[in-house]
């Protein structure tokens, strides 16, 4: 599904990612953990196509295509979805209008029939129930005046409606209380399937109690310094990121 080779990324001349290698196969859930400033969000945004980041080296192959040559909207149409850490408020555009426009753009791209207002509403209602969301949120402007938890749920709702092939969750757990966290995890788990891959970017292990990953990677200072199974997350939680400093000082860097 996704193959990242030696990815190096600059922001305003400062190198943030120093060469990332990562392979994600269909059906797998990968967690990317790391302390603040390690480059987790940068990686997530580069995959979604944010243009303020400059890729200086490496390549990303998604479903056999050169992902880095694709526009953000084309990536979305080809099945990539980024759940934002800080979802953007868009005054004046209703959540319903926005999500339906997005869904129909993607459906059109896939040669599927566009959904009319009624069918769309039916689909959204079902997904909102799953996420315990109040239907009134659909008539409000996108994310405007939403609480932190509502914004995160709105991201997962979009994901559930758009049904991406590759979902990237950028710190979707941050700022959520335990009930909201469980609801969000539930929503994500309901989308797990052999055809769909999920990359969970997180600072904390807590979310991974509910979304159990197949693989865990530790991103540290712009490099993946350790990869393993779900137990690696527990080890990190137990020892903290400081442990990495010590471990890396004794090991020569690659």
């Amino acid at each position: 599904m996704l193959k990242i080779k030696n990815l190096q990324v600059n922001i305003n001349g400062t190198e943030i990612l120093h060469g990332i290698d990562l392979e994600v196969n269909a059906g797998e859930v990968h967690a990317i953990m790391g302390p603040n400033g390690s480059g987790k969000s940068t990686l997530a945004h580069v995959l979604a196509g944010r243009e303020t980041y400059a890729v200086t080296e490496g390549e990303v192959i998604y479903e056999g295509q050169n992902l880095l040559a694709m526009l953000p909207e084309d990536r979305a149409r080809e099945g990539i979805f980024l759940a934002f850490q800080y979802p953007v408020e868009i005054p004046g555009v209703s959540n319903t209008y926005f999500l339906r426009a997005a869904l129909n753009t993607i459906r059109k791209h896939q040669n599927l029939e566009e959904l009319d207002a009624m069918d769309f509403l039916g689909l959204v209602r079902e997904k909102m129930m799953l996420l315990g969301m109040d239907e009134s949120l659909m008539n409000r402007p996108v994310n405007e005046g939403f609480s932190g938890g509502e914004k995160k749920r709105n991201e997962i709702l979009q994901m559930a409606v758009l049904e991406p092939k590759l979902a990237i969750l950028d710190e979707t757990d941050s700022g959520l209380d335990i009930d909201a966290l469980k609801i969000v995890a539930n929503g994500v788990n309901s989308l797990r399937s052999p055809e769909r891959s999920i990359i969970v970017v997180t600072h904390y292990q807590r979310l991974l109690n509910y979304i159990v990953p197949d693989f865990v990677h530790v991103l540290y200072d712009g490099r993946i310094v350790k990869s393993g199974g779900k137990e690696l997350a527990l080890e990190l939680e137990h020892k903290g990121y400081g442990w990495l400093d010590e471990a890396l000082e004794t090991e020569p860097r690659a």
Binding site: A48, G49, R50, E51, L71, P72, E73, R75, A76, R77, F81, L82, F84, P87, V88, I90, P91, G92, V93, F98, L99, A101, A102, T105, I106, H109, P141, Q158, L162
Partner: protein, 445 residues
Amino acid sequence: MTEVKDHRDVYLASFARQEKEFATRPSWLREIRRAALQRFAELGFPTTHNEEWKHTSVEGIASVPFEPAQAGPAGAIIDALKGLPLCGLDCSRLVFLNGHYQRELSSLIDLPKEVRAGSLAEALANGSLALEQHLARHADYQNHAFVALNTAFLHDGIFVEIPKGLILEKPLVLLFISAASGRPIVAHPRTLVITGRESQATVIEGYIAVGEEPYFTNAVTEIVAGEGAVLEYAKFQQEGRAAFHVATVQVRQERSSNVTTYSFALGGALVREELGTLLAGEGAAAALHGLYMANGRQHVDNYTTMDHAMPHCNSRELYKGILDGQSTAVFNGRVIVRKDAQKTDSKQGNKNLLLSEDAVINTKPQLEIFADDVKCTHGATIGQVDPEAIFYLRSRGIAREQARGLLTFAFANEVIERVKYKPLRDRLKAALRARLGAGTGKEDA
């Protein structure tokens, strides 16, 4: 100071010719006309040395010998009208063409018979105490050259009187159409709307064009909202791309009246929209909304005045502008709080979206506060379409141009959504979409 060459003399000669036809008019009006002409002759057209016209040069108006249009047959334009905004509204309407009343295009079928609505010339001929009390008593022709000019040429227009307690269910549409006549013409539309105590009404005033030739519209509207009256007034201006449009709307609000205004300025080459309300009675409330859009080399200037004369009045103002191309715009929001206007609560906002590098906006709040127990806030913003929002939309599959159009539409929509009458709201959205199609290269925003 350099003297701008202007055609004051053309207006003076034109006035002298008209004066003969006005012998039959009431003497109070003839006096006002003469006084206004006198003031216009003294004031002349404002120059950019005048602080209130600093960013708007009217040389383009002053230097052309505009003359009043002759009354012509309206039949030729009926087909052209069908596609224009406001023309399809299923409401009573009064229609003027190049400054002349068009009975055959007007329809007052929905109007309760207690409501007085029709040509000002006819009302003058029949005599009316309210007319004499209010006509030319609110819009200041002593200090304002364009109001003076309009008042000097006051011969016809629209007179609306809503009686006490009457609730008008549907809006009343006043339509001023300009159509090509082969030479530069001027019209001085004049409107007087009086709403009685505890009445309720919606009045929509439209200025639209058939054809693209240059002309000059110099409109004055006076509105009196009686005690406890609730009035919505919307002005929709989509003049031709070569047109000059100067309009002054002056409102007087009595005790506990509630007036909401909307100004949609989309057309014209050079546009000045003045709107003022005098909160003349305790507990009155005013909400002023504006949306101006310009592209190419259009210039649009909004000058608003919120005059708090009495205590416990509440005013809200939101004007938004979208500027593309090399267009220029001015917003001047004056708020006056007089000595007696304690407990005033006033809030003003002006937000501008610049779609191009070359567009220019001059925005200036102007607070003059003479009372000490008041709450007045104001704020102005100038910005581009939010790149974060564009990326967010694109990350959901929406193309860049569509995202830009959608966000621009959303910016403007904040004003349109406040219009209560849904058919008007729908037409405004359609006009906006058509306009953004030209401005952003995308129809489906």
